[in-house]
């Protein structure tokens, strides 16, 4: 139980059963060894706070237009300049997180739920059902993400909700395949067999025994995925398949900048916002992945 039992950071997944104090120490050690994770966490937290407090922090309303003041470069009054309708870009960027963060989260959650459900069933039932689910995921994965999402979003009609829906349609197979693999490996564990022997019904085994043991890797995949979900979502918005033009959404704001090529600030700042958030999630995800990969740990 001594505090300095190991020098290498422990995988986060294994810490669940430890006492809280020990777990805290493990996490602190992990963070000290991975400064990029700390930077990532700080940036993500900052964006969450900014999004929540946007009405208090923003000097102007995100939709407030002053056409006489259009396309002004960054100044003391408008830190990030103004766009083609004289709206304050700094205020709009602050509000942007209110769309991108929940959108990314919804995509990952939606895809996670569908994928986990289908993957778990495929793993538990096996046979022809497994075969069908796996073939279907292969077909979906043969489509490049953004093309398929673009087709779905265009067909459903452009709106924020439809963009998220389109991405869920494209996103779930990864989770289904991962979940199936996890279920197959957990299924052969002794404790699952024990549960079956004493007569626990299959759905209960799935829910109470198998699922909890698959959660840790799924949560990790979800975290790593958040960055790319936000990136693809911004891409869809950029193509005009997400929000309506007035909404302060980062991808949409960058696409405004295409028409106003000489006014670099119109596109630059919303794009930087996307970058910081995605980079932050990738810093976090990368650190977790390194910590969980025993081969990499040995090599370092």
């Amino acid at each position: 139980m001594s505090a300095t039992s190991t020098t290498t950071p422990q995988p986060l997944a294994l810490t669940a059963a430890r006492p809280a104090r020990k777990r805290m120490q493990t996490i602190m050690r992990f963070l000290r060894a991975n400064p990029l994770v700390v930077i990532g966490l700080v940036i993500v937290l900052a964006w969450i706070v900014i999004s929540l407090l946007a009405p208090l922090l923003a000097p102007y309303g995100p939709l407030q237009q002053r056409v006489v003041n259009r396309l002004k470069p960054p100044s003391a009054v408008n830190w990030f300049g103004t766009d083609q309708l004289g709206r304050d870009i700094f205020s709009r960027v602050l509000y942007g997180g209110r769309i991108s963060l929940p959108a990314g989260l919804l995509v990952v959650l939606g895809a996670g739920v569908i994928g986990v459900l289908l993957g778990a069933l495929a793993g538990m039932i096996g046979g022809w059902f497994d075969e069908i689910v796996m073939r279907v995921t292969e077909v979906f994965m043969a489509f490049p993400t953004i093309i398929l999402a673009m087709a779905v979003a265009a067909a459903l009609g452009p709106s924020l909700f439809n963009a998220v829906l389109a991405m869920v349609v494209v996103w779930w197979p990864t989770y289904a395949r991962m979940m199936r693999g996890l279920v197959l490996s957990v299924k052969s564990e002794l404790y699952v067999e024990a549960a079956r022997v004493v007569g626990v019904p299959p759905w209960r085994i799935l829910w109470r025994t198998v699922l909890p043991n698959c959660m840790a890797p799924l949560v990790v995949l979800g975290t790593i995925d958040l960055g790319s979900a936000i990136l693809v979502f911004a891409g869809l918005s950029f193509l005009g398949l997400g929000s309506d033009p007035a909404t302060p959404e980062w991808g949409r704001m960058v696409s405004d900048g295409v028409q106003f090529f000489d006014q670099w600030w119109v596109a630059a700042f919303p794009g930087l916002a996307i970058c910081t958030l995605v980079i932050a999630f990738n810093f976090i995800g990368d650190g977790i992945r390194d910590a969980l990969d025993p081969r990499l740990r040995k090599g370092l």
């Binding site: 990029l36 073939r135 279907v136 292969e138 077909v139 979906f140 043969a142 489509f143 490049p144 993400t145 953004i146 093309i147 398929l148 673009m150 087709a151 779905v152 979003a153 265009a154 067909a155 459903l156 009609g157 960055g227 990136l231 911004a234 891409g235 950029f238 193509l239 005009g240 398949l241 991808g251 960058v254 696409s255 900048g257 295409v258 090529f261 000489d262 670099w264 596109a267 630059a268 794009g271 996307i274 970058c275 995605v278 980079i279 990738n282 810093f283 990368d286 081969r295 990499l296 040995k298 090599g299 370092l300």
Partner: protein, 339 residues
């Protein structure tokens, strides 16, 4: 012989995959609330019931969905992908026209990204845990995090408009006569025609978009090269190579890198497919008349024969790339040939 049989088996396996792809593409373009009539006819044409009816009849929109699908599949087997609602030309002709530009761009981007990625990955692995390594790793993470459409715009604003280091949008100088069409790849065509001016122009116009598009590949390849190389460098035959007095360059390039290449090639194959999709976002900005631009136009106008054509084509390229990657495994790893 075993390679040939393997390739044949893999190709047979792609048939159900392709069938599934047609089914999904068809389902998306049909089982949705959006109305292709409204998307393609003007306001005045919409109010004329005979025009609307004629439009529906022309595209089979008045028949049951499963009949529409069977009609489509029947045509497909004869090499007929239907007619684009927007351009009013056969989809196959459209694809033939727009695909080469995208292939040229994606290939150039892969070359640029892979060269940068391999170089950075090797440096990073050899100087492991140094400040340089930390810098390269951070840079590679940034590389995979940048929104490509934003990077494209900023690159044009800074490197073209302000500094003038690179030419602007388009595939050639404005007003320049393209070389006679052979492959549709401007670099190859101008080379074949011996048109040096066109070649110079085509290559210089390729540079900026492929740098932008290749940044993601570069980031990905750097990371995979680094970790694959680190894994190999810890093995005993590397120590043996050092022990028998080989210089570091030889050990790294001839002994370690070759054995680390398999995961790198997987990633390159994967990112090529993604590049084709990523061009949707860059082609609009660089005014690049490729398939991504075509796909975008098709999906905003609900031009479903075109959407299906593009989706199937890109999925097909994706499958072929995967096949090539698998075959390369055979070539690179002699152990697989026995098994």
């Amino acid at each position: 012989m075993s390679i040939l049989r393997y390739i044949l088996r893999r190709m047979l396996l792609t048939i159900p995959l392709l069938l599934g792809i047609t089914l999904i593409a068809f389902a998306i373009s049909h089982a949705v609330p959006a109305d292709p009539v409204a998307a393609n006819l003007s306001q005045s044409a919409m109010s004329d019931p005979t025009i609307v009816a004629a439009f529906r009849a022309e595209w089979g929109l008045d028949r049951p969905v499963h009949e529409q699908y069977l009609t489509y599949m029947g045509n497909l087997l004869q090499g007929n992908l239907g007619r684009s609602i927007k351009s009013r030309r056969p989809v196959l002709d459209d694809l033939r026209q727009y695909l080469p530009a995208t292939i040229e761009l994606a290939t150039a981007a892969t070359l640029v990204g892979t060269s940068i990625g391999l170089l950075f990955g090797i440096i990073s692995a050899v100087r492991r845990n140094s400040l340089l390594d930390f810098g390269v790793r951070t840079l590679s993470l940034v590389g995979v995090s940048l929104p490509v459409f934003w990077l494209a715009l900023i690159a044009l604003q800074v490197l073209y408009a302000r500094l003038g280091w690179f030419p602007g949008p388009g595939r050639l100088e404005v007003g320049m006569e393209p070389p006679p069409r052979l492959t549709g790849l401007l670099t190859v065509d101008s080379l074949a025609a011996g048109d040096w001016n066109a070649l110079r122009s085509a290559v210089s116009h390729l540079m900026l978009p492929s740098l932008v598009l290749g940044s993601f590949t570069a980031g990905l390849v750097t990371r995979v090269t680094r970790s694959a190389l680190l894994e190999v460098l810890g093995l005993e035959y590397i120590r043996t190579a050092y022990a028998k007095g080989l210089v570091e360059r030889v050990v790294i390039l001839r002994h370690a890198l070759r054995n680390a290449l398999i995961p790198v090639i997987t990633v390159i194959g994967f990112s090529y497919g993604n590049l084709l999709a990523g061009t949707v976002l860059t082609e609009t900005i660089f005014a690049w008349p490729g398939i991504g631009w075509y796909a975008y136009r098709a999906s905003t106008s609900l031009d479903f024969p075109a959407i299906m054509g593009v989706s199937m084509l890109i999925a097909l390229i994706f499958i072929i790339t995967n096949l090539i990657v698998d075959i390369l495994y055979f070539v690179l790893d002699p152990r697989l040939r026995v098994a």
